[in-house]
Amino acid sequence: MGFRLKVEGPETIDLGIENILTVEFKTDTPNDSNARSTDLGTSLIVKGKILTAVDGEEADSTMKLAQWSLVPGERADCYRKATIDVISASQVVRQIHLPNAFIVDYTEDYGDEEGVGTFYLHMKQKKDKTIMVKLEGGFEE
């Protein structure tokens, strides 16, 4: 399976098949609720590689993710449009769209035995806009 992540805001962050390792989509309500809860949260968790640019090619845009994670809550651009495509056998299995995504956690890991770094990105949709989340898929690429 391959993944494509696109984050649109004041700048566009594009990460492709080489970068992304796993994608997780979660909807979460309190487990102790007796009936359907209005306390509904949506998460998108992306893990991937931080590649080193060689032969003078352009560096990947993981650095922009790190910069986005530092944007304080007072600024409008802490909310961005995130779209992830899950592609397998020329089919878009899922296209998940969070129009008001913000970063909850962002981690980068590097080791002295590795040639690549790894990142962990946890995004959530702004809770009052949960209704705007789109979960599409099942069409040709």
Partner: protein
Amino acid sequence: MGFRVKIEGVETIELQIESVQKVRFKTDIPKDSNARTKDVGSTMVISGKILTAVDGDPFDSTRQMGIWSLVPAESADCYRKLTVEVISASQVVRKIFLPNAFVVDYTEHFGDTEGIGTFELVVKQKKDKLDKVTIEGGYSA
């Protein structure tokens, strides 16, 4: 063992034997109770595979489960009828029916080294309708 899952609401979601891997049925009462409590909860955990359609086959209905998990509590559509059949050696070992099921958690996971995704769906029966849960089984399929 094979499992058949049917979710009926505004639309019908059917998951076949190829999709569903595990089913867990839980009845839960507080462990610190001194006598049988009326605080009984009924939970169903279903996990399985998200398959990619090839050769023009229709896609499986796992995406509809994701959409169900996003239905807000204000909409009557968040409660649906769930039927799970556990089938082994042409016998229906269990047929569990939750007539007012709602989603507590839903997770989808995709990886770059896998050809399929996985899902986990946690549903509960609306607590005041607990007596409507039926558990049958022990007859031929």
